[in-house]
């Protein structure tokens, strides 16, 4: 058991690819609560999240042979989860079937500063709790992935399949909207 705990996700995925199907259970255990938490923040109706997460694992297992163990496993499974949750949103009619974002058109020079993230995390924690649901889904998911699930810009770029610069721009814009929404809520509570 101790050995299993020391194995990385990528090593486990490789074992599953090589036929050790039982090991997939470890991946399910490691990601079940993480994906449920992500789903709960992402979706507005919470009742069928467990079913969606189960579908994510089924999808992950079916496609495990397409995973490249030289890359990180977490962005890969979050990509599958992201697609499942977006489909969930579409079923809840919160998203149009297809949409195009103009912020993926141009290149944006963005530098990811870990110190800034740490400072933001303290400040944003309360704001996320209070006003995350006021955000548009494209900002909401990126704020969740960066501040709650702890993914880097590059990893988010792989999960959402958008340029890294666009990730930076959306985080910046998402933070601004979040702050505005939080101040508005605070003002209303103060009155």
């Amino acid at each position: 058991m101790e050995n299993e705990e020391n194995l990385t996700d990528e090593q486990i995925a490789l074992s599953v690819q090589q036929g050790d199907k039982e090991k997939f259970g470890i991946l399910v255990k490691r990601y079940d609560s993480k994906l449920s938490r992500y789903g709960k923040k992402f979706l507005s109706r919470k009742e069928n999240i467990e079913d969606i997460v189960q579908d994510v694992f089924i999808n992950t297992y079916q496609n495990i042979q397409s995973f490249d163990p030289a890359l990180k496993f977490s962005p890969w499974i979050y990509r599958i989860a992201h697609n499942a949750f977006v489909n969930g949103l579409k079923k809840q009619s919160f998203l149009p079937t297809t949409y195009f974002d103009f912020d993926i058109l141009l290149s944006h020079q963005i530098y990811e500063d870990p110190d800034e993230k740490e400072r933001d995390q303290q400040e944003l924690k309360k704001m996320i709790e209070v006003s995350l649901d006021t955000l548009d889904s494209k900002y909401k998911e990126i704020i969740i992935l960066h501040y709650l699930e702890d993914f880097s810009y590059k990893e988010i770029s792989d999960i959402l399949k958008i340029p890294t610069g666009t990730v930076g721009v959306r985080i910046k814009r998402g933070k601004e909207i979040l702050k505005e929404a939080y101040q508005e809520i605070e003002k209303q509570h103060g009155q």
């Binding site: 199907k21 259970g25 399910v28 079940d32 189960q54 089924i58 079916q62 042979q65 058109l105």
Partner: protein, 245 residues
């Protein structure tokens, strides 16, 4: 063991049971390899088709002389725009968008901003089109086959590549063969595709520009009566395509 842990174990058991019973199976590696192969094949076909269309559009505008009309005043420019094969251009634009969309499935595709990716695809396809035209006589050979009705499917678009759609617009293109006091003799691009005929050009009150010399390529605007062109405007033109007899 708390509720959360119990639920988690239930999920793990559920999934593992499905795997054990064979109701949940992983797709084999060859399935993904085949998918990638088909995907690359599709992109390659789109690329070849688009490069072909691109080179055909260039061949068409060069063959019919419409592009060189841009230098022949406002009327020439408008005419050039009117004669441009817009339908083929639109089909090509759709293919380029499709190729760009497919390229976004790959890592380099979605990591690159859409505008750069689009520009990259357009440049690559245009270069491939120019390359086909410069290096090969592909379109001319296909065009010749189309004239002999030996080209099924795409023969029609080649047959419509007429050498001089300008004839009906009373604009003629040709090469000066002789200069007299008030007239010229020129080898004029014929109404019949890919051919030329010799015409006399008379200048009604116009003086022939001093710098005009034998061998110059010219555009002439005017009426054609009984094999004589009565010129109203004359201007320089690029040389006739290499295939003209």
């Amino acid at each position: 063991m708390d509720n959360k842990e119990l639920e988690q174990n239930k999920t793990v058991e559920n999934i593992l049971q499905k795997i054990e019973s064979g109701t949940l199976k992983a797709y084999p590696k060859r399935y993904f390899r085949l998918r990638i192969f088909l995907f690359i094949l599709l992109i390659t076909i789109i690329f070849i088709l688009s490069a072909f269309l691109c080179s055909f559009i260039l061949f068409n505008v060069n063959f019919s002389g419409q592009l060189s009309l841009i230098g022949f005043g406002t009327r020439g420019t408008l005419l050039s725009l009117k004669l441009f094969p817009w339908v083929l251009f639109l089909i090509n634009a759709i293919l380029i968008i499709l190729a760009g969309f497919l390229a976004r499935t790959f890592r380099f595709g979605y990591k690159t901003p859409v505008i750069y990716l689009g520009l990259g695809v357009i440049i690559a396809m245009s270069l491939a089109g120019i390359f086909v035209n410069q290096i090969t006589n592909l379109h001319y050979i296909l065009w010749q086959n189309a004239q002999k009705n030996k080209l099924p499917l795409v023969g029609n678009i080649y047959r419509h590549t007429c050498a001089s759609p300008l004839f009906s617009e009373k604009i003629y293109r040709g090469k000066i063969l002789a200069i007299e006091t008030d007239s010229l003799t020129a080898n004029i691009q014929s109404e019949k595709c890919g051919q030329t005929s010799i015409y006399r050009i008379i200048f009604n009150g116009l003086t022939i520009p001093n710098e005009t010399k034998i061998g110059d390529n010219i555009f002439i605007e005017g009426e054609m009566k009984n094999g004589i062109i009565y010129a109203e405007t004359i201007g320089p033109a690029p040389s006739l395509p290499k295939f003209f007899r």
